[in-house]
C-alpha cells in the first residue's frame, strides 16, 4: 500500500503472509513490511531489479510494458505474492495449496510462462493448487458466475464450460463456482486444469475435511489476508521508521476534494 508521498514519488509498503494448518493449529510466516521509494525515474529499474532477482528473469526478458506510478503498489505487491506462491510450490509436497485470486495468466502480474512453471512445480510435488477469487468479472448469460449458482445444498461446485478466453490472457485453471458452506457467499474457484477432474474434486473434499470454512471461504486464506493487511497503527509505525531512519519529513498534502467541496468531498482514497 501507499504509505506516503514525497516530492518525487511515493512510499510503498508491501507484506506477504502464508498460513498453514498443522496438527489442528494454524501457523503463519509473515514477510515484511518491505518499504520502497518509487518515482517516475526509478520505477522501471526497481521493478526489473525485483523480477530479475527473484524470478530468474534475464534482464532483457524483464517486463517492458507500461508502468504506471500509481499502480506500483499493486505491481510490487503482486511480485511478492507470486514469489511466495513459487516458494510454497517448491517446498510443499502432497499438499493443498490455496492461492488468493485466480489462475489466469498472461497479465503483467501473472506472466504465462511463470504461472505455468509454478503450477508444474506444484504438480510434480503432488500438490494441488486451488485459487479462490473473491471478485470475478466472468459472466454467464450476462450474470456474474458467482450469482448464477443453482439452488443446491452446500457444499457444491458448479463446473463452468466454454468461458471465453481473451488473448493474451489464458485460464490455467478449471473454473468452478463453489459454495462450500451454507450462506449466500459463492466464490470463483480455479483448480489447476492439468490435474484430472476426479482429483480436483478430491482436492476440494480434502479442503472441506481439513480446513475451517466460514462463508464458503477457507480459514487459512482468511488468516493470511488478515495477517498481511496493514493496520493504521502499522502505517504510523512505518512512517515513524522512515522519518527516523531516512530523516524524511512527512507532510500532509491538502486534500483537494475536502478543500474544494468541504463535507461533500470524498476522503483520501489512498489512505
Amino acid at each position: 500500500m501507499k504509505i506516503g508521498e514525497t516530492d518525487t514519488g511515493m512510499l510503498i509498503a508491501v507484506r506477504g503472509a502464508t498460513v498453514w494448518k498443522q496438527q489442528r493449529h494454524y501457523r503463519y510466516m509473515r514477510l515484511g513490511p518491505f518499504i520502497f521509494h518509487t518515482t517516475d525515474e526509478n520505477k522501471r529499474e526497481l521493478y526489473t531489479a525485483l523480477q530479475t532477482a527473484y524470478f530468474n528473469v534475464a534482464h532483457e526478458h524483464a517486463f517492458t510494458g507500461m508502468l504506471n506510478l500509481m499502480q506500483m503498489p499493486m505491481r510490487i505487491a503482486n511480485l511478492l505474492e507470486r514469489w511466495l506462491q513459487a516458494a510454497l510450490t517448491k517446498t510443499l509436497t502432497d499438499s493443498l495449496v490455496l492461492f488468493d485470486g485466480s489462475l489466469t495468466a498472461g497479465t503483467p502480474d501473472a506472466p504465462t510462462q511463470q504461472m505455468k512453471q509454478l503450477l508444474a512445480t506444484a504438480r510434480n510435488r503432488d500438490n494441488a493448487v486451488l485459487a479462490f477469487s473473491k471478485m470475478t468479472n466472468l459472466r454467464t448469460n450476462g450474470y456474474l458466475i458467482t450469482d448464477a449458482l443453482p439452488p443446491h445444498k452446500p457444499p457444491c461446485m458448479l463446473e463452468t464450460d466454454g468461458l471465453k478466453q481473451r488473448p493474451p490472457m489464458m485460464l490455467l485453471g478449471e473454473v468452478y463456482v463453489a459454495r462450500l458452506t451454507s450462506g449466500s457467499c459463492a466464490f470463483r474457484l480455479d483448480i489447476d486444469r492439468e490435474i484430472p477432474p476426479s482429483e480436483r474434486v478430491e482436492a476440494v473434499e480434502r479442503l472441506l475435511g481439513n480446513d475451517l470454512l466460514s462463508q464458503s471461504y477457507p480459514e487459512t486464506l482468511r488468516l493470511a489476508h488478515i495477517l498481511c493487511t496493514f493496520t493504521a497503527n502499522e502505517v504510523i509505525a512505518m512512517q515513524r521508521f522512515i522519518t527516523r531512519q531516512h530523516h524524511v519529513k512527512i507532510v500532509n498534502r491538502p486534500d483537494m476534494h475536502r478543500l474544494l467541496f468541504g463535507p461533500f468531498g470524498r476522503g483520501d482514497v489512498n489512505a
Partner: protein, 485 residues
Amino acid sequence: MKLYRKEGNILQILSFSNETVEKGDYLLVEDADAGKALIAQVIDVQFANVPGVLEELLRSLPDGGELIQGEDYDPLEIAPHITYIQDASLLICKIRATVENETLTPSSSWLPSRSQSTIRKLSVPMLLKLAKVDGKLPIVLGGTKDSSLLTIDASGLDGRLNIITGKKETGKSHLSKLLMLNLIGYKATVVVFDLNGEYISLGMTGDGKRNAHHDKVHVLTPSQNFKVSLKQLNLHVLLGILIHALHLPGTSAREFRRIWQSLKERDMLNLHELGEAIRNWQCNQHVRDALFSRYHALVNSGFFTDESGSMLLEECLFRAKENGGAIIVNLRNTSAIDRQLVVEYVLGKLVDLLTSWKLKVAFLFAEEAHLYLRETYWDDIVTRMRHFGIFTTFITNQPDTIKENIYRQADNIFLFNFTNEHDLDVVSRAARVDAETVRSIARDLPPHHCLTLGKVVRDFPMVVKVKALDVKTMGETRLFFKDAD
C-alpha cells in the same frame, strides 16, 4: 511527550513507553515563545487511542482464542516501531498552576503551543522550590517517588484543621505520630485522644529504650494516674460533662448548679458531700433521681476523686508549654460514657486555659473522634475552638464519620489508600482538592503512601512514602495466629 488536548483545566498528553510517567507525577509544559509554563499533575494514565490497535489485537487471537503461532521476517525491524506506537499512553493531567517569571499563579486560562511546547517531568524538589514550600520549621514527611524528601513546614499545621484518613493498616497513626513528634520538637503543646493506647510508648525506641522525646511525652490514663477532684473543677466544665456526656436535662442542671454553689460557699466540694446534698436537696423527686443517677455515673467512672492530689493535666500542659510536649489521654479500656466524660473534661479544661491565656495554643490529635466527641463539638472545633487556639487533626478510617462541613473547612488532608467509592466520594468533598485527583490517585496508593493535600504543600497534591519512626509501635492488631509461624 506531546501535548494533545486541553479541556478546561485538564491536559491530555501523549507519552511513549520510554518515558516513565506515573500517576501523581508533575509535568512542566513549557512554551518558550509565550515565556510561560503550565504545571500539571498526572491523575490518570490511559492507553492512547491509536488507530488500528483493536485490529492488531484481534488478529493475534484468531486461533480459537489462542495466540496464533508464527514467524515474522521483518528485515527493516519495523516491529519495535509498531510496539512503540501501540504502547503509547495518554496522560490525563490536572493543571495546577502557571509559571511566569518564576512566579506561580493558579491560572489555566492560556493555551500553550501544541507543536512547540516542550514537556518534561518536574522533580519534587524543583516543584517545592517553585511553590516555595519551605520554611524555618521543616517536617520531613518521607520520600517521594523520585527519591527526594518531601518536607513541609510546621507552620502549615499551625492554626489549621487537618484530616488524616485512609483504610485500615495504611499508616495513618504512623503519620500522626510523625507530625506530633515534630511538633513537640518545635516546642508545641500536643494533646492526643488515644483511643487504642497507640501513642503511650512514643517516648520509647523500637527496642524499648528511652528516646529523645521521652521526657516530653506524658501519658494520662483516666482513673489511674489521671483523676480530678471536684475542687479542681469549674462548674461549667462539670455542667458540660453532665449535660453533654451524661445528658442531664436543663431543669436538673439548674438544680445541680444551686447544689454546687451551696457546697462551694461552704467549702464542702467533695464527692461524699455532693451525694449527701443531692439526697437532702429540696426538689422534685424526678430531678433528684436524675441528679443521683448522674452522680453515680461520676463516682463509678473512677475519674473523680476526693483526694486533693496533683493537678496532673494542668501540670503536664504547663510543662509542655515551656519545652513542648505531648499529653496522651489514654482512652484504652475506658467505657464509652467514661470516654465522653474524660474528653469533655479535657476539652473544657483546655478552653479554660486558653481563654485565660495560661496556654497559648494546643494541637489536638483526635483518633476516631466520632466515638467520643459529641455532635455539637464538631462545629465548635472547626469554628470556635480554632479562635481559642485548639488546632485539631482528625484521624479516622471511616471518612463518613466526619461531617461534610469539616471536610469543606479542612486546610490539610493526608489521604492514604481507599478503594471504596463511597469513602472516596466523602473525602473528595474537601474544598482544597478536586474529586478527580482524590478518586484517581488515592485508589492506587500503596500502604504507607500518602497523598498530601492542602496548605502544607501549597495546594500541589503530592504522594509521599511516610518515613519510618524509631518509636515503639503499640497500634498493632492482636492476632490469634501470630505465633503459628
